[in-house]
Symmetry: C2
Subunit: 693 residues, 2 copies
C-alpha cells in the first residue's frame, strides 16, 4: 500500500517556489541533488521553471502517473488542492505545511475537510505538518523531504512523528559515515500511521534494522500488534521520551497532548520484542552495529586491544550489560603466545601492545573467530604513528567480511590524520566508535537482542473450569447498582470464579454470626469490616488480625459495628495465616490496551522500595515467570538465610489467572490483591480491592 | 616543584632518532610542529642533525639549563643516562621507554637503579613507560609527548597513568574543537605521582577544570589529602574503571596489579569533593561545559528550543538528574508572548519554532538571564535552511560572553553545511553537543557540582568522655592472647567505651547466673552463647530470643551448654527489644586509608536488597546524615504508613562515634553492629562482631 509513497515514479510539488530559502524550493533541490530517478513536476502558476525544471500551472497540466504530491501551501488552500489531486489520480500527498489540528479548532476543521476528500478519492495523506520521506534505494533516490542533512544509502530505517529527533538520529549517522535506508517523519500523522510505516519497513528488503522514537502512542493496541509481527522479522530499536512528568508535559505541548508519563509504552516495547533504549546516543550506536553485524549466538565476548585503559572500560561496560569474557582456551592461548610479541598480554582481553602489527591483530581475530568459546569480538584500536594502521584496518575488514561473528571496534584516532584508516573501516562495514564505552554498549545491544530473540515463547495458558460468566454477573450487578467498587465479598467471589486461591473466608451480617463463622473456619482468624463505601479500612480500625477465640471475634465485630455506620455493613471472617511472604498483585486498565499487571514485594516495602514490575495483559506463563525474576527482592522468593522459598509456580499461575480475568472483563478499572501471602507450598490472596468502570 | 617540568626552557632528547616512525624522532617533531618556545637538543652520537636541528653527541655537549630530558633508549642504558643527566644538572627526565618493573624482576632492578641515581642528583623522573606531558600555554607550547593528536590551547587539564584513556579524552576534545591546557600521563609513575600533578594543576592559573581517570590509587590517603585541597579550588572530574571483577582483572594485567574491584576510590572521590563519572563520554562532555561556563547558583534550568522532540529528551535528562524546570514568571511570559511568533509555545521549554529568528532566541536568552527563577539556560538549536542560523549563533555567543549564568547548547546540524555556525559557537566558547541528552547531562554536571560545593562542611564532631584508652586495653588484651576476634563481652565493652548505646546486657558464666541476670535486667530477654571461637551462633542455636521468665532463661542456657563445648563459653543476657527498625552499621579497614563505614537496612533485607551506603573515616556529622538519606529505604527512617520514624540523630551520633573508635583504633579489621535497633526516641546496638589485625 505504501510502496508508491516510498518508491514513487513521479513527484509533484504544489507550492513549488522560486525562492531558495522556501520549503517549496528545497524539496525540489533535494530531489534533484540526490538524483531522484523519477519525474519531478514543480507546480506554480507564475513560474516558467524552477531549479531548471519546467513548472506547471496546475496539477492538471502535469503528466499522469503522479505517485506523490508535496503540498507546501497555506492550510486553507489544502482541501481544494487535495480535491484536485483526487481528480488527477494522485496516490499520496505529503503535506509539509502546518496550520492544522496542531493550531486549534479552526485548523482541525480544515484537517477534517481535506482528510474527508482524500478518503473519498482513496488518496493516502502523509503528515500534515511533517518533514516527509526519504528512500535512498539506488533505484529510487527519493528525497521527498526538506531536511538539510544529505542522506547516504544504508541499511537503517528511521521512523518517528518527531522530525526533530528523527533528524538528530539521521545527523548522527551522517557524522559517523553510516547510511540510512528509509526515513519517515509524519508529523500530525492524520492518515498514514507509524504502525503502517513499520509494516512497510518490515517488508522492505533494504532495511536491516528499524529505529524509532516515540513520545506516546496513538493506537497502542495496533502498534503492539504490528510491531510484534515486524519485530519477529527484523530488529526494531526504540526510545520513548517524555518519561518524567516535566518531559511528558513538554511533549504534550508540542504534540497537542499525545504524550503522557506512562509505563505502557515500555511494556508494549517489551511485549512486542522491541529493543528499547533510554538514551538516544545508545540507540544510535546500537543501530550502527545492527546495520552491518550478525546477531551473536550468545553473550561471550573476546576483546583484542593495543592499549590498556580503554579495554578496561570496555570490559566494565560489557560485563555490567550481562556479557561474559571467557578465558582463552589452552590451544588459543598457545596459538597467540606464538603469534604475538613476548611481552603481549595473552588473555581476554588480549593486549597486542601499541606496537602490535596487522599480523598480530589478524592472529587474534582469527583465533577468536575460530574458538567456539566466543560469540563476538570487540576490538580496541588506537592508531599510533609507528605501526601500519591501514594494514591493521584492512585485516579487521577482511575478517569482518566473513560475517561469522559480530565485530565492534573502538577506533581511537584523529580522523584528520588517519582518514584512510577511517575510510577502510567504514567501507568495510566495521562499526567504529571513538569511545570504548560507546563501542561496548553497541556490542552489548547485539547481545541483548539475542536474549530477546531467544526468550521463552509468549504462550497464553488456558485453565479449566474458570467461571467467566459468574464473574460477569458479579460485575454486572455492581455496575447496575451504580457502584464503582466491589464489596470485599464480591471481590473474593470474583477471584474464586477464576480459581485464584483466597484465604478461607465467610461473609456474615452480625457479630454473633462472625463468631460462629470463625469457629467454623478455625482460629486464629482475621475480622474485616466490609461495606461498598468503606475505604482504607485498615487505617480506620476496620481490620482485626490474629483473633484467637470466638469471644474475641464477637467483641471486635461489635466495636466495628459501633465505629462504622454504613447501611450495607457486613463482616468478613478470614483464616489468619502468619509467616507468609507478603507480596502484591494488581492491575490497572490502560487506555486502548487492556491492563498493566503489577507484581512485587508487599507490605510497607511496596511504598518505600517500590520493588514492583509490570506486564501487559494477556500475560503468558513466560512473562509471569519473568516478572518473578525481575523484582529486586527475587532472592526472597527463592529462599534466603534459612528462610524457605515460596511456591513460585503458584504465583505464576495466580498472575496468569488474574490476567485472564482482566482480559475477559475489561470493565475492571483497577484491582489490588494486597497482600498475596506466599508460602513454600502455596500462595493465597488475603485482601483484594476492585474498582470498575 | 614541577614548574620546570611543565614549563621547560630547554628540552633534550636522549635517543633522538633520524627514523621518522620512531618515538625519538616524533617527540622532536611534536615539539617543533607545536612551536615549543624553548630550546630543543636532539642527542644522537651518529647524527649531525635531526629534523633540521643540530644534534649533539651527548648530553654533556648540550648547552646548560636543560629542564627536561626525554629518554627513548633501551631500559638497560637508562641508569647511566640518568647519572649523566645528574652530572649535567638536568631537572626532570621523562622516560618514554618501557622495559622496567612492568616487565618483571629484571626490569624492576633497573628501575630501582635509575631511581636511586635520580634521587641522588635531585632529578625528578616522569614515567617510565609513559607518554609524557603537554602544556599548551602560548608562552610555552611544550609538546613533550609522542602522541599523535595535536592539542589546541584550552582550559581543561588531563592527568592519568593510563595513556590510552588520557589520549581518548584528548581526542574527544580535539574532535569537538575544544582545547586542552596541560596533559600528563605518567605510566609507571615511579617518582612524580598523580597527587603531585594534581597539586600543580591546582596552582596553574590556565587550568579551569581537571579531568582524571584512575583504575586504582597507589597511595590513597595522599591522593585524598591532595585532591581535597585542589578540589576546594577548582573542579576535578574523575572516572574510575575496573569496577567489575573482570574489569579490575583487565586493569591489573596492564598495570601490574594496581587496580582492584573496590568501593574505596568512589568514597575517596566523594570525600575529596571530586565530581565522579561512570561513563567516559559523560566525563568528557561535562569537562567541556566546565571549561567555559560559570557554575550555576542552583538547579533551575530554562530551556529554549526550535524543535520539539529534542527538548523533550533534554527535559527528561535534566529532571532525572535533579534539575527543575520552573515555569516562566508572569512578566517573562508576557515579554516572550510579545517577542515571539504567535504560534510559539511560550513556557519552559519555550519553543520559538523552527522558523524562529535570531531576535527570538535573543529575547528568550535575555529573558531567562534576567529572570531570577533560572540558574542556567539550555538551548536546543537545530539549523533549518530557511533561517539565519549564523545570526542565531551570534546572539547565543553574545549572551554567553556575559557569563551571567551557564549556557549549554544542543547544536543539531550538519557541520559541513553549517561550518560557520559551528565556528561562531566554538569561538564564542558555547559548549555544544550534537545530542540533546549529551548536552543535558553536561548542564546537569554543572548543577551537580554546585550541590557538591554547597554541601554541608565536613566537620568532625568531638564527643566528651570517650574512653579511648580503655578500648585500647581491650583490643590489646585480645591481640596479646593471639585472638583475631573479640568476644561479645569485649565487643560490647568496646562500644560502651565510645558511648555507643548497647541494649542492656550482662555476661555470666552459668545458667543459674544467667537467670539471675535476666531478672535484674527485666524480661523479656535474649540469651546468647559467647566464646571467642563461636561463629555463626544464630545459625547454630546459640541465640534464644524473647525469653519471658527466669526458668526459660536457665533452660535455654543449659541447652546451649550442652550444645557448645568451648572452654571459654559464657552467656550473654540482654534486654530483648521488640518492634525496632532493624539496621546495620559496620566497617572494614581499607588498605592505606582508614576504614569504610557501612550503614543500611538490616535483617534478611541486607543480603537481598543490599540497601547499604558507605563512607570513609573520619565520618563527619554531615556525612553521617547523608548516609541516612542515601539508603533506598530512607522513608522507613522517616516513618511511613502509620509506622513512626526513628531517632535519626541517635543514628548519626552512633555512626560518628563508631568512626572515632575506628580512627583511634586502626587495628580493628572489620566490625558489624547487626542489628542496630532504631526506635522513635533512641537507637541501640544489639549484636556486634569485631575482628582485629
Amino acid at each position: 500500500m505504501l510502496d508508491s509513497l516510498f518508491r514513487p515514479r513521479a513527484v509533484a510539488v504544489i507550492g513549488a517556489s522560486t525562492k531558495e530559502l522556501s520549503i517549496g524550493n528545497r524539496v525540489i533541490k533535494n530531489l534533484i541533488d540526490f538524483g531522484f530517478t523519477g519525474a519531478i513536476y514543480p507546480i506554480n502558476p507564475n513560474a516558467e521553471e524552477i531549479r531548471g525544471l519546467k513548472a506547471y500551472k496546475s496539477i492538471f497540466d502535469c503528466p499522469d502517473g503522479i505517485d506523490v504530491v508535496h503540498m507546501v501551501i497555506p492550510a486553507k488552500f489544502v482541501p481544494q488542492a487535495v480535491e484536485d489531486c483526487g481528480k488527477k489520480g494522485v496516490k499520496h500527498i505529503i503535506i509539509n505545511s502546518g496550520g492544522f489540528a496542531e493550531t486549534g479548532p479552526e485548523g482541525a476543521a480544515i484537517q477534517n475537510d481535506f482528510l474527508e476528500r482524500a478518503r473519498r478519492y482513496g488518496i493516502r495523506v502523509f503528515g500534515p505538518n511533517c518533514q516527509g520521506v526519504i528512500n535512498t534505494d539506488p533505484a529510487i533516490r527519493a528525497y521527498c523531504n526538506f531536511t538539510f542533512t544529505r542522506p547516504e544509502p544504508g541499511f537503517i530505517s528511521i521512523v518517528a512523528l518527531s522530525g526533530g529527533v528523527a533528524e538528530v538520529i539521521h545527523q548522527a549517522f551522517a557524522q559517523m559515515g553510516v547510511g540510512t535506508r528509509i526515513y519517515a517523519s509524519n508529523g500530525n500523522a492524520v492518515d498514514v500511521t507509524i504502525p503502517e510505516i513499520l509494516e512497510y519497513l518490515g517488508g522492505d528488503e533494504g532495511t536491516r534494522v528499524i529505529v524509532t522514537y516515540v513520545e506516546g502512542l496513538r493506537d497502542p493496541a495496533n502498534f503492539l500488534r504490528v510491531a510484534t509481527q515486524v519485530a519477529a522479522r527484523k530488529p526494531i530499536l526504540a526510545m520513548k521520551a517524555g518519561r518524567t512528568k516535566e518531559g511528558a508535559r513538554a511533549a504534550a505541548s508540542h504534540t497537542g497532548g499525545l504524550a503522557k508519563e506512562d509505563i505502557a509504552t515500555d511494556l508494549i516495547f517489551d511485549k512486542a520484542g522491541i529493543l528499547s533504549f533510554r538514551d538516544e546516543g545508545h540507540l544510535i550506536q546500537a543501530a550502527v552495529a545492527f546495520a552491518s553485524q550478525p546477531i551473536p549466538r550468545g553473550n561471550r565476548i573476546g576483546i583484542i586491544t593495543n592499549t590498556g585503559g580503554p579495554a578496561v572500560i570496555a570490559t566494565d561496560v560489557l560485563v555490567a550489560a550481562g556479557c561474559t569474557l571467557p578465558p582463552l582456551s589452552a590451544p588459543t592461548h598457545e596459538r597467540l603466545k606464538a603469534a604475538l610479541y613476548p611481552e603481549a598480554s595473552v588473555g581476554n582481553p588480549v593486549d597486542v601492545l601499541a606496537t602490535g602489527t596487522a599480523q598480530h591483530y589478524r592472529a587474534c581475530l582469527d583465533a577468536m573467530m575460530e574458538d567456539e568459546a566466543f560469540d563476538g569480538v570487540f576490538v580496541n584500536f588506537v592508531t599510533p604513528f609507528f605501526v601500519d594502521n591501514e594494514a591493521i584496518a584492512r585485516e579487521i575488514v577482511a575478517v569482518n567480511r566473513a560475517h561469522q561473528k559480530p565485530i565492534v571496534c573502538n577506533l581511537m584516532t584523529d580522523p584528520r590524520q588517519w582518514a584512510e584508516v577511517v575510510r577502510i573501516l567504514r567501507e568495510g562495514e566495521v562499526p567504529c566508535f571513538p569511545l570504548p564505552g560507546e563501542a561496548a554498549r553497541a556490542m552489548a545491544a547485539l547481545v541483548r537482542y539475542r536474549a530477546l530473540r531467544d526468550r521463552a515463547p509468549r504462550t497464553i495458558r488456558s485453565f479449566p473450569n474458570l467461571k467467566g460468566e459468574k464473574a460477569g454477573r458479579i460485575l454486572e450487578k455492581a455496575r447496575k447498582a451504580g457502584r464503582s467498587r466491589l464489596t470485599a465479598e464480591e471481590a473474593y467471589r470474583l477471584l474464586e470464579a477464576y480459581r485464584i486461591p483466597v484465604a478461607r473466608w465467610k461473609a456474615v451480617g452480625t457479630p454473633e454470626e462472625a463468631a460462629e463463622a470463625a469457629a467454623a473456619i478455625g482460629f486464629p482468624v482475621a475480622l474485616k469490616a466490609d461495606a461498598s463505601e468503606l475505604l482504607h479500612k485498615t487505617d480506620r480500625g476496620g481490620v482485626a488480625l490474629d483473633l484467637g477465640s470466638a469471644s474475641a471475634v464477637k467483641r471486635a465485630a461489635q466495636e466495628m459495628k459501633k465505629a462504622f455506620d454504613y447501611p450495607d455493613l457486613r463482616f468478613l471472617v478470614q483464616k489468619f495465616l502468619p509467616g507468609g511472604l507478603e507480596l502484591i498483585l494488581g492491575a490497572r486498565a490502560e487506555e486502548g490496551l487492556g491492563h498493566a499487571v503489577v507484581f512485587g514485594l508487599g507490605g510497607v516495602l511496596v511504598e518505600v522500595l517500590k520493588d514492583v514490575v509490570f506486564a501487559l495483559t494477556p500475560v503468558s506463563t513466560a512473562e509471569a515467570r519473568e516478572m518473578l525474576d525481575a523484582i529486586q527482592a527475587k532472592a526472597l522468593l527463592d529462599g534466603v538465610r534459612g528462610r524457605p522459598g515460596v511456591d513460585r509456580e503458584a504465583l505464576v499461575e495466580m498472575i496468569e489467572k488474574l490476567s485472564r480475568l482482566l482480559v475477559e472483563h475489561p470493565e475492571i478499572q483497577e484491582m489490588d490483591v494486597n497482600p498475596v501471602l506466599a508460602f513454600p507450598e502455596r500462595a493465597v490472596a488475603v485482601d483484594v480491592r476492585i474498582a470498575i468502570r
